[in-house]
């Protein structure tokens, strides 16, 4: 019996950039260091960790586009490289619509996202998760006009993405200018033919929404997920709106592996079953000090707590 859900993993947790496609020699890095750094420097190993955990899909950040161009030549070459290591699909990418709240910046925002649409399609990806506007610090709160500007821009991105077979999804960051007080209005202002919602369970929870209720209410718009946990539900505005909010000054974590926080994932899974959700489920556990441990723990949680409910 084929399963309804398959798992993809966003690759941003391994570091700011994975520098090497593949290391040629172990000892060059191990000798004199005698540490574990050598295990984390190249895509070859990192992709194998995913497959070893039973994760056969990956998502890529926007900065992988120039990286792949320089190191692999084409998106297809990187997809082949990943496939050779057991990755079935590069399911999607993450992009930005920074500046969309300013209509004068729409040409540059659209140009950047057109590049990402082409990149995602060439990788064989099915969706783009997009931060819908600038960060809140220095920009928010958005005026009604700014919110409309951002929505109009997103609608155009969505229309273009649909033309290439890619689903454009709003991905709300807890530190984005589109935030707690206007996210639902923003969603209503976007065209459901072209714009979907990627429910990042921790991001919306930190903002003050209940992700389970959110899915129940918007399940027809929520086509994709970024699954991650948090213990900082409904964080205060000043914690979310300050400079570099995502990187807490004291190093404390916003995000945890599945089961490491307080999000009701079993509740969410019951709704996935209720609404007969099918497709790739993406896990995104950025902010971890140990990406390998976090991936294994998350997969254990999926296999032993969630899959018995619905898979």
């Amino acid at each position: 019996m084929s399963e309804n859900l398959k798992y993809s993993y966003m690759t941003n947790m391994w570091g700011l950039v994975v520098q090497y496609p593949q290391l040629n020699g172990w000892n060059e890095w191990y000798e004199k260091d005698y540490g574990n750094s050598v295990y984390y420097l190249d895509w070859d190993k990192i992709l194998k960790y995913h497959v070893g955990c039973g994760i056969t899909g990956i998502e890529l950040m926007f900065h992988m586009q120039p990286y792949i161009q320089r190191f692999f030549g084409t998106p297809q070459a990187f997809a082949d490289f990943a496939r050779d290591r057991g990755i079935e699909r590069i399911t999607g990418t993450f992009s930005l619509a920074i500046g969309s709240e300013d209509r004068n910046r729409h040409p540059e925002v659209l140009a950047f996202n057109q590049k990402m649409i082409d990149f995602t399609a060439a990788l064989g990806g099915e969706n783009m998760n997009i931060m819908p506007a600038s960060g809140y610090y220095g920009v928010g709160p958005l005026s009604p006009e700014q919110l409309k500007n951002a929505a109009d821009c997103f609608n155009e991105i969505g229309r273009r993405a649909a033309g290439k077979g890619v689903d454009a999804c709003i991905h709300s960051e807890f530190w984005c200018a589109v935030n707690k007080y206007d996210l639902e209005r923003f969603l209503d202002m976007t065209d459901p033919r072209y714009v979907y919602f990627c429910l990042d369970t921790a991001q919306v929870s930190i903002m003050g929404f209940d992700p389970v209720k959110m899915y129940d209410h918007y399940h027809d718009r929520i086509k994709y997920f970024h699954l991650k946990d948090t213990d900082k539900q409904d964080a205060p505005d000043d914690a979310r709106f300050c400079a570099g909010a995502e990187f807490a000054d004291d190093g404390s974590r916003w995000f945890w592996e599945l089961g490491g926080g307080k999000i009701d994932f079993p509740g969410l899974w019951k709704l996935l079953k209720k609404y007969n959700h099918k497709g790739w489920m993406s896990i995104e556990t950025d902010g971890t000090p140990d990406p390998l441990a976090t991936m294994v723990l998350s997969k254990w949680y999926i296999d032993h707590v969630l899959s018995p409910i619905y898979k």
């Binding site: 947790m13 391994w14 570091g15 700011l16 950039v17 994975v18 520098q19 090497y20 496609p21 593949q22 290391l23 040629n24 020699g25 060059e28 890095w29 004199k32 260091d33 540490g35 574990n36 750094s37 295990y39 984390y40 420097l41 990192i46 950040m61 926007f62 900065h63 120039p66 320089r70 190191f71 930005l96 920074i98 540059e108 140009a111 950047f112 590049k115 960060g135 610090y137 400079a243 570099g244 995502e246 990187f247 807490a248 000054d249 004291d250 190093g251 950025d286 902010g287 971890t288 000090p289 140990d290 990406p291 390998l292």
Partner: protein, 328 residues
């Protein structure tokens, strides 16, 4: 001679466990204390204000003091930042380092025109000079050029012949920046990389066209990879040295990586371009003796570029300085 530490020792463009903490202000505040504990009274800062280059976007939001905007956002002001450093035991910022490769990456990220490169270089230098003044620091360290590989692709369209014009325009720009630095009471030092236009014998050709107030910040590992003798090179430029940079390498560029894009990340052959100071084949002690003989009294900036363990590298640097580099 006085020994300082470059914050570029902390490689932000990498992956691995415990990377994420480098993006918090707390990490950097602790790091400043550790640098002071390792006996360094001066630090050099990298300077990159861009945000379309995807990596710069991420770095600009964290606690790394990589630009005027980053310092204002996370440390209130350059003045407050300096007060904090002095509280922690660091007496001065020795300089800021601008890498023109970041300009090219920014242009490529936003599909800009290459005609914008030199105006952006001037603007970036001016911003960095203002930042230096605000910090009470004295020296702008400017890498000579972006990667030859990136230049060949974007200025040359893959063909030869673009080099003389690019070098001439670089010399003109550097001379202009040096003049502006001088009006502000600041210095400009040009830094070499094995992958830049100062590769090999071209370094002296470039300096022949520069005004005398442009100083030279030699990176000894880059010189070594480029096939130049670091001690001899430093002796040639003895009268115009500043921010002498100690890095180390065991790397031999047998694959001509100096011509390639991402030259510091080889894909074939040997890939580890830099190693911790004292573990490669650079004669750091010989260099320091040569500097002492020449009466050099400026900063020696220690970097141990791309070290896999920053904390060990800091302590190893201190041991080297105390037990080898300053010993007869």
């Amino acid at each position: 001679m006085k020994f300082g530490c470059s914050l570029e020792m902390i490689n932000m463009r990498t992956s691995g466990p415990n990377f994420i903490i480098r993006q918090s202000k707390g990490y950097w505040m602790e790091m400043f204390k550790l640098v002071a504990a390792a006996g360094f009274k001066g630090i050099e800062l990298p300077y990159n204000p861009y945000s379309s280059d995807p990596i710069a976007f991420e770095v600009g939001r964290c606690g790394m003091p990589i630009s005027r905007a980053a310092v204002h956002a996370k440390y209130e002001s350059p003045q407050a930042f300096m007060a904090m450093l002095r509280d922690f035991g660091i007496e001065e910022v020795t300089g800021v380092h601008v890498n023109p490769n970041d300009i090219l990456l920014e242009l490529l990220a936003r599909d800009g025109q290459m005609s914008e490169y030199f105006p952006m270089l001037q603007a970036l230098a001016d911003e960095a000079l203002d930042f230096l003044s605000a910090l009470g620091a004295k020296t702008l360290v400017l890498s000579i050029s972006p990667e030859i590989g990136l230049l060949a692709e974007n200025f040359g369209g893959g063909k030869d012949g673009w080099q003389p014009d690019f070098v001439a325009r670089t010399i003109e720009a550097v001379n202009q920046i040096a003049a502006r630095a001088e009006t502000k009471g600041l210095s400009l030092a040009l830094k070499n990389e094995f992958w830049g236009m100062g590769h090999g014998e071209h370094l002296q050709e470039i300096f022949a066209g520069l005004v005398p107030q442009v100083l030279y910040s030699p990176d000894v590992a880059h010189l070594s990879i480029g096939g130049q003798d670091p001690v001899k090179t430093v002796e040639i430029f003895a009268s115009r040295l500043a921010q002498v940079r100690l890095n180390d390498t065991s790397f031999a560029d047998t694959e001509q990586n100096f011509r390639k894009i991402n030259a510091e990340i080889p894909v074939t052959g040997s890939q580890r371009v830099f190693c911790d100071l004292g573990e490669g084949h650079v004669d750091a002690k010989g260099l320091c003796q040569s500097l002492q003989k020449a009466g050099y009294d400026g900063w020696i900036i220690c970097e141990s570029r791309n070290t896999l363990n920053v904390h060990r590298a800091l302590l190893k640097l201190r041991w080297l300085i105390d037990h080898e580099l300053t010993q007869a």
